[in-house]
Symmetry: C2
Subunit: 154 residues, 2 copies
DNA sequence: GTCGTTCTTTTGACACAGTAAAAACAAGCG
DNA sequence: CGCTTGTTTTTACTGTGTCAAAAGAACGAC
């Protein structure tokens, strides 16, 4: 299998049976530059590289990449979907509860650590997904000045 | 603290400073009957108990209950939000990749098992959320007859 | 029990994210 | 070069959830 984040983008596409197009290369480049990007962010990035690209094309490409296993879609609760190129390496995410920023969290304990549920309720287990929630350093800094639950002085 | 799934619903509401209304009681009853219900399912359930209720009211109530800590909202990727009354007991969910059915998974290893990320990237960690993905027994049964990836014979 | 304040619910409009489908276009093979 | 098939564009639409103003109900005070 080709390594998603070191291989030539065009090779990745060909490998997956997808045609190599400007749009797709631009989307892959955008994700390489800024992982955990949403459709909006990707559209912006792509616009900088290409003359014109429709939002729908970006949607298509991201769906195709995800279906081909080149990209992965993550969907933290309460946010639009985000995409990243790191696939198949069993890493997880930590999401800022305030600003939505996402960072990668590598899995220390090896693969699927303690992630065998006690009772699968008859389910055929395929995978475990872990999402950490917290507050990023930027938001924590802001919060000191203006605590989250604080009401403005009257 | 009042135990969410044994206490009288009206007590729960009062405790949280919320008024006791037919709508709210009906929503709580619906969630008690069918955990992991979406807004649609709750609306249907509530309609059976009450003469008329607006979808918006159900949205309001569910938001209020979630804000008050009486209910919890979960949002598996690719699905509308679901609500359940079990809160504060650190359990997780297993979701069917085919039909979206959700089951509870109790946390064997105690609280927050091995869920301390290796590197928090400067985040202030608040909580860890685990979602298991798999195929439920019903879907597996169907799948034997019609495998998911199978193309129809030409 | 009745009154009045405040919280809930209703109603209707709107915002956002994503999907659907047909026509115009381009990649890659012969 | 030119054909075939996969991409992209364009436009419309669906689903999920929010916003806000007016009507209505819960609960405490009298």
């Amino acid at each position: 299998m080709i390594d998603t984040h070191t291989a030539e983008p065009s090779a990745l596409l060909r490998e997956a049976g997808l045609r190599v197009t400007e749009t797709r290369l631009a989307v892959i480049a955008a994700l390489a530059d800024a992982p955990h990007s949403g459709v909006d962010a990707v559209v912006t990035q792509v616009s900088n590289r290409l003359a014109s690209t429709s939002r729908q094309a970006v949607h298509n490409v991201l769906n195709d990449l995800a279906a081909a296993g080149i990209a992965r879609r993550i969907e933290p609760a309460g946010q639009p979907g985000l995409y990243e190129l790191r696939v198949g390496d069993n890493h997880h995410h930590i999401v800022c509860q305030r600003c939505g920023k996402v960072a990668d969290v590598d899995c220390v304990t090896g693969h699927a650590p303690c992630l065998t549920p006690s009772k699968t309720s008859g389910f055929d287990l395929a995978e475990a997904e872990v999402t950490f929630w917290g507050v990023c350093s930027d938001c924590r800094a802001t919060e000191v000045a203006q605590p989250a639950g604080a009401s403005a002085p009257v």
